[in-house]
């Protein structure tokens, strides 16, 4: 099937306006007859379900958590971008668009990215109207800060809990629709198969995670808003339950999976402390507004941070990238940290960490504060105390979290940080309307591949999730559903539902009956190790080739030796996890294949064979300026479809943050 991205004709800045003016509409009476299924209740899913419910569609929303409010969007810390230009620092829709395209290393679609920048301002308006308590200045207006890869202040935030506040806003809008009867909520439910009838997505098979029973649900359209697949690495900043299952079931049914190798390694996470580690914790990128990253100049220096004098410190980001300094994009900052640690300059017991130091910021704020309060000739301790209060107001909850986990006080000693898997830019291939290549099947938010190219800029995930759910899908879904108004709800007794349920039941039975000797968790850890070592921050052809074979072998072992305790018809988290890990064992192989195919370095995808003399990523625009969309053709068999990326407005150059 040829890939049609359905990008509207016309000038870049007019495409979305033109689309909205000409797309088909569904009248209110018909909306009531149309049913839409939404999988996942994070920012994308909750905002889509609420908006579609408000519009009058009959919506069914599903989440595996015990409440829609717990989706992992809740954990996003730093902020959400919007081209409001409230700071009068030269921001505009075009600049946000340009920063995002450049930040993504010229591997995303211009039209999608421009639309994202265009609707960003509406998101902030919408959230404030819902009562999201963003940070404000004394004059009562909204406050902004900077994030990586940009030179303006366009990030809106609510302390270090921006994701929580935005999700609660969307969750409340969703619960309002539940109360009105427009949305039916299915918590503790997991989608395990999509039902396709005459080529169109028409429903799902879901498992009730409390009773273990399988359920059939019809929908005129199905929206997958199920998040990213970072947990394929086992250790990541994702929640324990985050998984690829919904997107993967779509892939197995024929939906294309795009750019799976584009994964984001976030530079500032708390380092791994031992083999027991179950997840990694992010320290928000916002900290790089004030924190300075450094390592000792001397290799293997084991002195304490405060004992190392200024001239023996290497502020390597400021040294290598003077224009952006500590606020370079995530992929650049992560690779630079790895480079220093690999070269023997790492700190802490594992030597796999660098310092993120707030001493300068505390003193700087302290001096300003002393002046404000009219304290002349303040001593160092006073300045420090005053500065500490300012830093605490900005980042207090993050500092507390750091201390709880590490037992160290980051006001006194620098944080130790190291890169960790955080976000996945790849995902289901979708066109401009967010529709996959299966009619009626849509994908929103992190689950799709669409807007971030090969690297996502900080504070842009929240923006995309809400843009897709509040402002894009309400228009684009109408263009499809307008042709479905005569389709009566299909009975779930239809043989396609029966067949899909049989597939799910067979898979579950198979998992339960292996009765092997090794736990699901153990397989997951082993997969994660392969992925991190060979498909992580740096990749090469030899490692990727090995990884593909190792994953195949591991998958075989999993299906012959995994042990899933308990029963099917009960609350059984081990069984839930087994299904998810089984899917990761397939996805991991495809990620390595995609990484092996892409003979270039771009954004988060760093192939060691393709780098400049200075160690920067080297793209190969001639051969690889395309979206890699993979079609499942049977076990370990995938066909590559290429969607060329045409740049009409920006001109791809080597990214420079120097």
């Amino acid at each position: 099937m040829p890939l049609d991205s359905k990008i509207p004709a016309g000038e870049l800045a007019q495409k979305w306006t033109n689309y909205k003016s000409t797309c088909k509409l569904v009248n209110p009476a018909n909306k009531r007859k149309l049913e839409v299924i939404v999988i996942g209740t994070g920012l994308a899913g909750a905002s889509a379900a609420a908006s579609l419910g408000e519009m009058g569609y009959k919506v069914k929303a599903f989440c595996f958590q015990d409440s829609p409010r717990r989706a992992h969007s809740i954990a996003a810390q730093g902020g959400i971008n919007a081209a409001k230009n409230y700071q009068n620092d030269g921001d505009s829709t075009y600049r946000l668009f340009y920063d995002t395209i450049k930040g993504g290393d010229y591997r995303s679609r211009e039209a999608n990215t421009y639309r994202l920048a265009e609707v960003s301002a509406n998101i902030i308006d919408q959230c404030v109207a819902q009562g999201v308590p963003f940070a404000r200045e004394y004059g009562g207006l909204l406050s902004n800060r900077s994030f990586g890869g940009v030179q303006v202040q366009r990030t809106f935030y609510a302390a270090g809990q921006t994701g929580q506040q935005l999700l609660i806003g969307a969750y409340q809008a969703l619960e309002r629709q539940v109360a009105l009867g427009n949305v039916t909520m299915y918590s503790r439910h997991e989608m395990l198969e999509i039902v396709k009838i005459e080529g169109k997505a028409r429903g799902i098979i879901a498992r009730n995670l409390v009773t273990g029973e399988l359920e059939r649900h019809f929908g005129h359209a199905v929206l997958l808003c199920s998040g990213g697949y970072g947990n394929v690495f086992y250790l990541s900043t994702n929640a324990m339950g985050s998984n690829v299952t919904a997107a993967w079931k779509a892939t197995k049914l024929g939906a294309y999976f795009a750019n799976p190798c584009y994964t984001q390694i976030h530079p500032t996470c708390i380092p791994v402390s031992g083999d027991h580690q179950s997840k990694l914790t992010l320290m928000s990128e916002s900290l790089r507004n004030d924190g300075r990253i450094w390592v000792p100049k001397k290799q293997g220096d084991s002195r304490k941070a405060r004992e190392i004098p200024e001239e023996e410190r290497d502020y390597y980001l400021e040294r290598r990238y003077p224009a952006f300094g500590n606020l370079v994009p995530r992929d650049v900052a992560s690779r630079a940290a790895k480079e220093r640690c690999d070269a023997g300059h790492g700190v802490g017991t594992s030597k796999q960490a660098v310092f993120l130091d707030f001493e300068d910021a505390i003193m700087r704020y302290g001096r300003t504060e002393a002046n404000k309060q009219g304290i002349h000739n303040a001593d160092k301790a006073t300045i420090y105390a005053l500065g500490k209060d300012v830093v605490a107001e900005k980042y207090g909850n993050l500092f507390e979290m750091y201390e709880k986990i590490t037992g160290e006080n980051p006001y006194e000693v620098p944080m130790r940080i190291y890169p960790a898997v955080h976000y996945t830019m790849g995902g289901l291939w979708v066109d401009y309307e967010l529709q996959t290549n299966i009619p009626g099947l849509y994908s929103l938010g992190e689950a799709n591949f669409s807007d971030h190219g090969a690297n996502r800029l900080g504070a842009s995930a929240l923006m995309q999730g809400l843009a897709d759910g509040y402002f894009v899908i309400p228009y684009t879904i109408g263009n499809y559903l307008a042709n479905e108004i005569n389709v009566k709800p299909i009975s779930t007794d239809h043989q396609a539902f029966q067949a899909a349920e049989d597939i799910v039941a067979t898979r579950i039975n198979k998992l339960m009956n292996i009765k092997g000797t090794e736990s699901v968790e153990s397989f997951h850890k082993r997969l994660g190790k392969i992925m991190w070592e060979k498909c992580g921050m740096a990749r090469n052809a030899k490692g990727l080739t090995e990884a593909i074979e190792e994953i195949k072998a591991l998958r075989k072992e999993f299906w012959s030796n995994v042990r899933v305790p308990g029963e099917i018809l009960e609350f059984n988290p081990e069984l839930d996890k087994a299904g998810r890990v089984a899917d990761f064992l397939e996805l991991g192989e495809l990620m390595c294949m995609d990484a092996l195919n892409r003979n270039e370095s771009c954004g988060g995808h760093f192939r060691e064979e393709y780098q400049t003399n200075e160690g920067e990523a080297m793209r190969q625009d001639e051969g690889y300026s395309y979206v890699a969309a993979w079609e499942y053709k049977g076990e370990s068999q995938y066909e590559l479809h290429k969607e060329p990326l045409d740049f009409e407005v920006v001109h791809p150059t080597q990214r420079s943050y120097k």
Partner: protein
Amino acid sequence: MNLTLKVWRQKNAKAKGSFETFKVSDISSEMSFLEMFDVLNEKLINEGKEPIAFDHDCREGICGSCSMYVNGRPHGPWKHTTVCQLHMREYKDGDTITVEPWRANSFPVIKDLVTDRSAFDRIIQAGGYISVNTGNAVDANAIPIEKQKADDSFAAAACIGCGACVAACPNTSGMLFLSAKVSHLALLPQGDPERKKRAADMIHQHDSEGFGSCTNIGACEAECPKGISLENINRMNKEYMGSIFSGSKV
């Protein structure tokens, strides 16, 4: 370190539960409390036994899933900390730790340490929102909000809906949760038009879910992992009174 764990086991909502004792060994002080449970569960699976079911997801103290009652305290001994952020350096070799689910009729046990907290969602459904449809918003800076009010609203909105307040309360009252939402919205101009009806409707739902009344004991505030203040309950009572005396729906 080596520890003894006494954990509540209950096959399902209908079954009768009981405590079961486990020994765990080689626990490092750097582990989180839930990672200690991971170690135990891995051991149980390898021995062919059923692992202990417990709710957890983000493991960074924000999703509100985790919910263990540790040695008589919701989320364990650390102030302003969810149990997923509690670390094992709190404990020493030889300690015995008792772990139970949230105890409240309105939170029935699903299995072991997992409870059904959907009553909280229904309280939000009763009015915990601002009725604004997508696409109707004015410019975000059109309505300036006094910084102090915005900060207070944010402090109330920091609630993670975990239910520790209910578990801590001798009356199993959910008033801290409820009042945090009422406060969050009532403090903002956007929330003003619905404030009276909101407080009354949410309280009504709270009571019909079987949560107990508030008698100002304060255990909820003391155990809240997000430091939600009792002041919110005062504010809610004020909202409720306003609702009654203005003749609005109660």
